[in-house]
């Protein structure tokens, strides 16, 4: 009971400290709970939908001459690791789709309504259906609604081999497989009549087989997918793409992973700041109340009683702050979930999860409890009589810094620097806090710079260009010559996708006619791209996982063909989770029986329009052009989510930094002014004006902040890319070369310093109204 009374008294005496800590704990708890919900509930939500919709464990898309061989009997003859299967005939096309303000290029699987809605495995759920639309309609994946901004009733253009089919959007579908372009392919559903029309009018190459597998317990999805495609390609003229559910969900939720990591960093930074503030406030309390502690001990309070009062005080604050923080997190979460849903396309509703609430509460309470125990250790060593005799002497002036007798600085500046040295603990705390805040700020600026201001497309994709054309293989020679001859077109190069295998692992390879023509000079970050037909460059992540080095030999298969290549370099991009390779056409030919459809990238000279050139090529070759793309528009669409996230992160981190530095400076200044009250009274008595003292007080905090901003900016400049690499490595980017925006960093640094100065100045203003007599009298 007596401990509770002491705790209440401490809280009453340090109201502003209590409020400051409460707010910091609220912020830390809020972010921690958001992180837990993102990493658990948001991902779980995808698996729950998958289970509810009986989603396949592995989805196989097969095309090629022998695709019709695929039936249940054939598949069971090559593997018996599955317990259920459903095989469907569908149409598939690589095409552009309007997405937000741009376009995306993706594989579209066209299903007829009858088959799609009666699927046994991988069911679809219809959403926002407008029953008044009865013909010529289409259902699109929910991602195209929440991310791509398509609405029910809008017209949707489906481009299939130079023909454009227009449908009215009747509704959207929630489907885990084939639901997001980030996972490689999307499906659309149209009525059977419309489906049959496309099937009749289109070439046979549109026809594909889809097999959905439910695997036996304990069978690895990735391994099954790899084994299956290897076997299919080995014995047949079948090109197969297998998508394990785990990778589909990983791809559909990667934005949530990035956001989760960012929130986790902010949460950890704020928790560190809370601990620093706890240490600071407990230490100050002991120094300021040494006589009280002595008096309490002398009347029989044990160190345990006094410590218990601190524990009660801070645990109470933590409990209240945590409850507020958890509440706040559920206010913020719908917006965050909406943002992540624009990428995942999987509907998600968040309701309070008691488990994560308890984990958040317990974590924060435990951290605070252990810290208070640690920081109050010295109470045990205080003897009552020493404490009563004005306690422990905290002054330890080994050196008279900035002796006025010799100082060449102006008087007030000299005194401000003196104050800084006497206030070294608070300044160290300020230094550390400012360091972390600036570091977080720089990270957010880097994201802003490389996603919003000047997107780092060299990392987003293997190759970039202005336009691209996918043409029939019979055009291979003509089209290159024709494109090169078009006025305004430059640097036509073949960059054709060709999935190959190493052992049972798929490598998404890019086949180049000439590696020198590649515009993306950053894609190969170590070694070089292949120059000869026996050379290959592979993803750094793949090399690291499977212990390949530059100069090693690697065996690559495609179907029943295999060839050995020497690894000449490592490549990287955010695509394909670090399972990529580069071959020259002459090298890839060793793996191919016949020519394949090639994709040509080209750039345009100033003043020429990609769409016009694409049209010209289509007019020249007609149906033999499979698809064309305006890459700039595609990049805009692909980057839209990144841009939104980077903008939100900048706003979030800057706001949190502002609130935190405001709180910290408020708490430090309050403690500091309290401590220096007597000194300020003396100075005022001797003739210093309020302005002099306010200046001294405000400026005494600035060296640590300025130094921290400078050092943190320099450290961030060198460390930011390696730090972010720890996150990007999992996506395949091993050596990050994000531009560090020095101009924005300087603006942020100056802004941080100016805001800090204004805050300290503002907080010091209350000294103005205090008469020296009162300052001394209250001492």
């Amino acid at each position: 009971m007596k401990e509770v009374l002491l705790a209440k008294s401490n809280i009453r005496k340090g109201k502003s400290l209590a409020i400051g800590l409460l707010l910091l704990i609220t912020i830390a708890t809020c972010f921690l709970n958001v992180v837990l919900v993102i990493f658990n509930d948001f991902k779980d939500n995808s698996y729950k939908h998958a289970k509810r919709l009986n989603t396949e464990d592995v989805l196989l898309i097969a095309y090629g001459d022998d695709k019709n061989k695929i039936d249940e009997a054939y598949l069971s003859s090559i593997t018996n690791d599955y317990k259920d299967i459903e095989i469907l005939d569908n149409l598939g096309v690589d095409s552009e789709v309007k997405y937000g303000d741009g376009t995306i290029n993706t594989t579209i699987i066209i299903e007829n309504e009858e088959t799609a809605l009666n699927a046994r495995i991988g069911k679809v759920e219809l959403m926002d259906v407008d029953e008044s639309i009865t013909d010529n309609y289409i259902y699109l994946p929910n991602q195209l609604h929440v991310g791509g901004k398509h609405k029910v009733g809008d017209m949707f253009e489906l481009k299939v081999s130079n023909k454009t089919y227009k449908y009215k959007i009747k509704g959207f579908i929630n489907s885990i497989g084939l639901g997001s372009y980030n996972a490689g392919a999307i499906k659309v559903i149209i009525p059977k009549d419309e489906y049959d029309t496309i099937k009749t009018e289109g070439s046979t190459s549109l026809q594909i087989k889809i097999a959905k597998f439910k695997l036996n317990d304990g069978i690895s999805q990735e391994k099954f997918a790899n084994t299956l495609t290897t076997k299919l390609e080995k014995d047949n003229k079948i090109s197969a793409q297998a998508m394990p559910l785990s990778l589909v969900i990983l791809a559909r939720t990667f934005i949530s992973t990035i956001l989760g990591v960012c929130f986790a960093v902010v949460s950890i930074v704020v928790i560190i700041i809370v601990l620093l503030m706890l240490s600071n406030s407990i230490s100050n309390y002991i120094t300021d109340n040494i006589k009280t502690i002595g008096a309490l001990k002398s009347i029989g309070y044990t160190s345990g009683n006094i410590k218990a009062s601190f524990i009660i005080q801070f645990i109470t604050l933590t409990l209240i702050g945590s409850i507020l923080g958890i509440g706040l997190s559920y206010v913020m979460l719908p917006g965050i979930i909406d943002l992540m849903t624009t990428q995942s396309g999987i509907p998600c509703k968040v309701s309070p999860n008691i488990l994560w609430i308890l984990v958040t509460l317990f974590t924060i309470l435990l951290v605070v409890f252990l810290s208070v125990i640690f920081f109050t250790k010295k109470i045990k060593k205080i003897e009552p009589i020493t404490a009563l005799r004005d306690g422990v002497n905290t002054h330890n002036f080994k050196k008279n810094r900035i002796a006025l007798e010799k100082s060449i600085l102006p008087l007030n500046l000299s005194l401000a620097i003196k104050t800084m040295f006497t206030n070294i603990k608070q300044n160290i705390a300020t230094f550390i806090i400012a360091f972390f805040l600036v570091f977080s700020g720089v990270i957010s600026l880097i994201m802003y710079q490389n996603f919003s201001v000047k997107p780092k497309v060299s990392l987003m994709t293997f190759e970039y260009s202005d336009g691209a054309v996918l043409a029939d293989k019979d055009l291979n020679k003509d089209i290159y010559n024709y494109m090169s001859s078009i006025e305004g077109v430059k640097n036509v190069r073949a960059v054709t996708s060709l999935p190959v295998k190493n052992d049972d692992n798929t490598l998404f390879s890019y086949v180049l006619d000439d590696s020198k023509k590649l515009e993306n000079k950053d894609v190969c970050y170590k070694g070089r791209l292949p120059k000869y037909d026996n050379e290959i460059a592979i993803s750094g992540k793949y090399a690291s996982t499977y212990k390949f080095n530059i100069g090693d030999q690697i065996i690559i298969n495609k179907g029943d063909k295999k060839a050995k290549y020497i690894i000449t370099g490592y490549i990287q991009s955010f695509n394909n989770m670090g399972q990529e390779a580069v071959l020259l056409e002459t090298g890839a030919n060793k793996l191919l029986d016949k020519e394949i459809n090639k994709q040509y990238y080209y750039d345009v000279k100033d003043g020429y329009k990609v769409d016009k050139i694409n049209k010209k090529i289509q007019n020249k070759f007609g149906d033999r052009i499979t698809s064309t793309a305006n890459i700039e528009e595609i990049m805009d669409a692909a980057l839209a989510t990144f841009v939104a996230i980077s903008n939100i992160m900048v706003i979030l981190i800057m706001s949190v930094s502002f609130i935190v530095i405001l709180l910290i400076l408020y708490l430090l200044m309050k403690t500091f002014i309290g401590k220096k009250r007597k000194d300020y009274g003396i100075l005022k008595a001797t003739g210093y004006t309020s302005r002099n003292i306010i200046f001294q007080n405000a400026i005494s905090f600035m060296p640590s902040i300025v130094l921290s901003v400078i050092i943190s900016s320099i450290v961030s400049y060198f460390v930011a890319n390696p730090y972010l690499e720890t996150i990007t490595k999992s996506f395949g980017v091993m050596k990050l070369t994000f531009d560090v925006p020095i101009d924005l960093m300087i603006i942020m640094g100056i802004g941080f310093i100016v805001i800090s100065y204004l805050i300290t100045l503002f907080l010091s203003l209350k000294l103005r109204k205090i008469e020296p007599y009162n300052l001394l009298k209250d001492e």
């Binding site: 002054h395 007798e405 003396i682 008595a685 003739g687």
Partner: protein, 253 residues
């Protein structure tokens, strides 16, 4: 010879509100302080001695009335102007000494001196000279207040009060926190500076300290109720002591 008035108060009042109860600490005080005097303000605890001292020196603002310092009504000055006024005209010596602990002895003196005189070539020798006059060794200049005794610290306080050659030194119970021996040393400093022409206003309720003054004012319940002129201080003069004692007895001390 008529003395110059350096401070004059007219109807000086100071009232505090304590949870709604008005406490009149100073009541319509009309007072004159003269140049070169060692004026001592005495009175019982709570009489308003320190409040009067801090009002006279511009450290605290009165509720009503005027204070003319060298002809300037300082009650009309704002806080910053009061600070400028204090730095040029007043020196302070406090009972609790009030040196800035984080500054060395020399810095404590210079922090005050540099406000008025930026010329260190003049100021630093003057500071050392003052330290010598208050009997502080030169090597103590680099020490911190916590490294010297209370008596030494108080004498440093006197040196600080005098660095700007103020018109008046205000001292609030300067020997209150000191033992008899160190207290005497401090009083000796005051006497010697007064003898050199320095005006001093000191609050005390210690007879031994009061004896140093040439003019004793007695304050009770916020009003000056008596005045005693002791004349020039002569060390060990029994008559002086008797005169002061009689005065205080009359005042009901």
């Amino acid at each position: 010879m008529e003395k110059n008035k350096i401070i004059e108060t007219k109807k000086l009042c100071k009232t505090f509100s304590n949870y709604g109860n008005m406490q009149h600490i100073l009541k319509n005080i009309d007072l004159e302080i003269y140049e070169g005097d060692f004026t001592v303000i005495m009175g019982p605890s709570g009489a308003g001695k320190s409040t009067l001292l801090y009002a006279l020196s511009g450290m605290d603002t009165p509720t009503l009335g005027n204070i003319y310092f060298n002809g300037t009504d300082i009650t009309k000055l704002n806080q910053d102007k009061l600070a400028l006024f204090r730095r040029k005209n007043c020196g302070f010596v406090f009972q609790q000494i009030y040196l800035v602990d984080s500054m060395s002895v020399m810095d404590n003196i210079l922090s005050s001196g540099l406000l008025v005189n930026k010329n260190k070539k003049e100021l630093v020798p003057k500071a050392y000279d003052l330290l010598k006059k208050v009997d502080i060794k030169k090597e103590y200049a680099k020490k911190f207040p916590t490294q010297i005794s209370g008596g030494e610290a108080q004498r440093v306080g006197i040196a600080r009060a005098l660095i700007n050659s103020p018109k008046v030194v205000f001292a609030d119970e300067p020997t209150g926190a000191l033992n008899s021996k160190t207290g005497t040393a401090v009083l000796d400093c005051f006497t010697s500076f007064n003898e050199a022409g320095q005006s001093i206003v000191m609050v005390t309720h210690d007879m031994k300290s009061a004896r140093r003054g040439n003019r004793i004012l007695y304050i009770r319940d916020g009003e000056i109720v008596g005045e005693c002129n002791l004349g020039k201080y002569v060390s060990g003069d029994p008559e002086r002591h008797k005169k002061l004692a009689d005065f205080l007895v009359r005042m009901g001390w």
